[in-house]
């Protein structure tokens, strides 16, 4: 998956590149409006991560350009403005998603993959990890070919784990992914624990292995080995 990161803040750009480069992404970067424009005219990208506050122009113009020149490219807006009209304007103009700074890199990863799944893998709607099969269209999960009934939150949790496999996920990142901004207090971490306990139980009773590994003091990691 080839992505372009348009972000004027060098350090933030580095963060995103270092994090995503661990996975199946090929990252390129643009520091400003001009550079972004040049790269978009020259190359094809699957998804563009776009900061709409750029020093030499409004990122929304790049969005417009992309819609005209490369409508098949996915767009994820990142902004620190959290201004409602910008958010709506961005989504209205055809952005696929919108993230407000600061975001968890794991969240960015999950959202990018979701955009990629929707846009690029139209035919293929199943996700696999070892003996776990997920049909993202029907929202159905099978473990070792046994159907498993998950609650909406458990399903979202499993999807979040699989798109972030082999990465450390903090309880905070998980809680924010599941409940958005509604939970900003420590109580929610007990809820995360509850959901993980249930999810683990359901997968294992359907004949799956335990892939959710606890990292003491921090959170969880999904993978074949801890």
């Amino acid at each position: 998956m080839k992505i372009l990161i348009v972000e004027d803040e060098k350090e933030l750009q580095d963060n995103i590149v270092s994090y995503l480069a661990n996975g199946e992404f090929v990252c390129e970067t643009a520091n400003n409006f001009q550079e972004a424009q040049d790269k978009l005219y020259g190359f094809q990208y699957d998804v563009v991560v776009l900061d709409i506050m750029l020093p030499d122009g409004n990122g929304l113009h790049i969005l417009q350009l992309l819609k005209e020149e490369a409508p098949e490219t996915g767009i994820l807006i990142i902004s620190a403005k959290n201004a409602l009209d910008d958010r709506l304007k961005g989504l209205d103009m055809g952005a696929d998603d919108y993230l407000t700074k600061p975001f968890h890199l794991s969240e960015l990863n999950a959202r990018l993959k979701a955009i990629f799944r929707r846009r690029k893998l139209q035919g293929q709607t199943s996700l696999q990890f070892e003996e776990i099969d997920i049909d993202t269209n029907k929202r159905e999960v099978q473990v070792a070919e046994n159907p498993v009934v998950l609650t909406l939150k458990e399903y979202e949790l499993l999807l979040f784990f699989i798109t972030n496999k082999k990465r450390v996920l903090t309880k905070q990142a998980i809680a924010e992914h599941l409940w958005g901004d509604h939970v900003d207090y420590l109580d929610s971490f007990d809820f995360v624990y509850q959901h993980i306990k249930n999810l683990r139980k359901k997968i294992m009773s359907a004949g799956g292995n335990n892939y959710i590994h606890t990292i003491y003091g921090l959170g969880y990691k999904f993978g074949t080995n801890g």
């Binding site: 803040e9 350090e11 933030l12 963060n15 995103i16 270092s18 994090y19 661990n22 506050m53 902004s79 620190a80 403005k81 959290n82 201004a83 409602l84 407000t100 700074k101 600061p102 975001f103 968890h104 890199l105 794991s106 939150k153 990465r167 450390v168 903090t170 905070q172 409940w179 509604h182 939970v183 900003d184 207090y185 420590l186 109580d187 929610s188 007990d190 809820f191 509850q194 990292i215 003491y216 003091g217 921090l218 959170g219």
Partner: protein
């Protein structure tokens, strides 16, 4: 009441007082003039009678109830210089069945040694007639004036006050957040021109302040959130390293928490600034029932995990005028509060009617004054869990939308009432 109706009514009231006074004064003046005239007439009649009597033509004088002449005793003496007196007298009139005041002359005339007493009563004006004439004139004038004033006020409001009405309309349509120029009606009235100039200056200034504060809060938010985003990212990269000890991971976790808190604080403060800057003014009513139902649904899961029962009584299709984002924040904050300050195995009751939203929850008694509940950074416990801005934001939203919020505590139940 409209300005023009008020001034017209005031004019009419004044006119009524003036006309009443005028009527009384005219009546007095008329009476005076008439009674003088009457006196002259009576005196004329007296002198004519006196001449006739002097000539000895007493029998030729036609007497009537208005003129009586009576012979007097021969030894009667009278002062020839004061031969008559004039006075008012009350007489009962059969025709009008009323006692009326007449002018009466009593005088003395002589033919040689024979003296006569003459009584003449005026037959010219009756008091009642005079009154009705004056009344009639006054009433008619007042009627004409009333009609004139009403026509005049209609014309004034249609032509002279027209720019004023238009200015009022323009003010009502004025929105801080829109870019539309504030359109003033052209006028050649000096006061309205002054008003126009003043309004133009004020609205331009208000818009400039609004935009400046909006940009400032957005930039401030950007400048705060970007470094937090960088730091959080670095920590996330760090936690990916494989050779970290548990205590090192705890340090990362703790740093993440503080950064998240700082970021939420920045967001909450910028939200308060935006609410105060009136960036969320909505003219369209929204369906509050839907938002309340949806929010309650969202929180019921969190409540269940804390073993809290959620009851809801939501009236269908409650419409109120509020920005949908603010409505969502308002309800979320109230529910969040109700979950957060609840007890294990507690209860939350959400009730929405057409003019009230009540959120009640079980919980321990506050250890601070309830009045401080809606102030910024007031927390029940000095815990690090919360920011202490949730209810301050709720209050701001209520103030902006002219809603009243009340808190009360009874029998271990906290109750938040929002009236709209």
């Amino acid at each position: 009441m409209r300005l023009i109706s008020k001034t017209t009514l005031l004019y009419l009231l004044l006119a009524f007082i003036v006309f009443s006074l005028g009527g009384v004064i005219s009546l007095e003046q008329f009476k005076k003039a008439v009674s003088q005239e009457t006196d002259y007439e009576l005196m004329g009649a007296y002198f004519r009678t006196k001449e006739e009597v002097k000539k000895g033509n007493v029998d030729a004088i036609v007497t009537s109830k208005y003129l009586e002449i009576m012979p007097l005793e021969s030894n009667f003496q009278y002062d020839t210089t004061q031969a008559f007196t004039l006075r008012d007298t009350n007489i009962y009139l059969k025709r009008t069945e009323q006692v009326e005041t007449f002018r009466k002359l009593i005088g003395f005339v002589s033919h040689g040694d024979q003296h006569y007493r003459v009584e003449i009563i005026d037959i010219f004006f009756e008091d009642a007639d005079l009154k009705s004439v004056v009344n009639n004139i006054t009433m008619r004038l007042f009627l004409f004036l009333t009609i004139g004033l009403i026509i005049g006020s209609i014309l004034i409001s249609k032509f002279i006050f027209r720019p004023f009405e238009q200015i009022l309309q323009a003010i009502e349509g004025f929105r801080l957040s829109s870019d539309e120029p504030f359109k003033m009606p052209p006028t050649n009235t000096r006061e309205f021109q002054q008003l126009n100039r003043f309004l133009e200056r004020m609205t331009t200034k208000a818009r400039m302040d609004y935009v400046a504060l909006k940009e400032f809060s957005e930039n401030a938010s950007h400048e705060i959130q970007t470094p937090i985003a960088i730091a959080k990212g670095k920590l996330e990269l760090l936690q990916e390293s494989s050779d970290l000890q548990e205590n090192q991971l705890r340090l990362i976790q703790s740093a993440q928490h503080s950064l998240t808190k700082l970021s939420k604080l920045g967001q909450a403060l910028s939200l308060i600034t935006k609410i105060e800057n009136q960036e969320f003014i909505s003219a369209n009513p929204i369906n509050l029932s839907q938002i309340v139902a949806h929010s309650t649904q969202n929180f019921s899961e969190l409540a269940t995990l804390k073993n809290i029962a959620v009851e809801k009584k939501i009236q269908e299709n409650v419409q109120i005028k509020i920005d949908p984002t603010l409505a969502d924040i308002l309800i979320s904050n109230l529910l969040k509060n109700a979950v957060q300050h609840n007890i294990e195995g507690g209860r939350i009751q959400v009730q929405l009617t057409s003019n009230q939203l009540v959120v009640e929850n079980t919980g321990k008694e506050l250890n601070q004054e309830p009045e401080k509940l809606f102030e910024r950074f007031q927390k029940n416990q000095q815990s690090s869990k919360t920011l202490g801005l949730g209810l301050a934001i709720v209050k701001k939203i209520c103030d902006l939308n002219h809603m009243q919020i009340h808190y009360h505590y009874k029998d271990r139940i906290h109750s938040m009432k929002v009236n709209f």
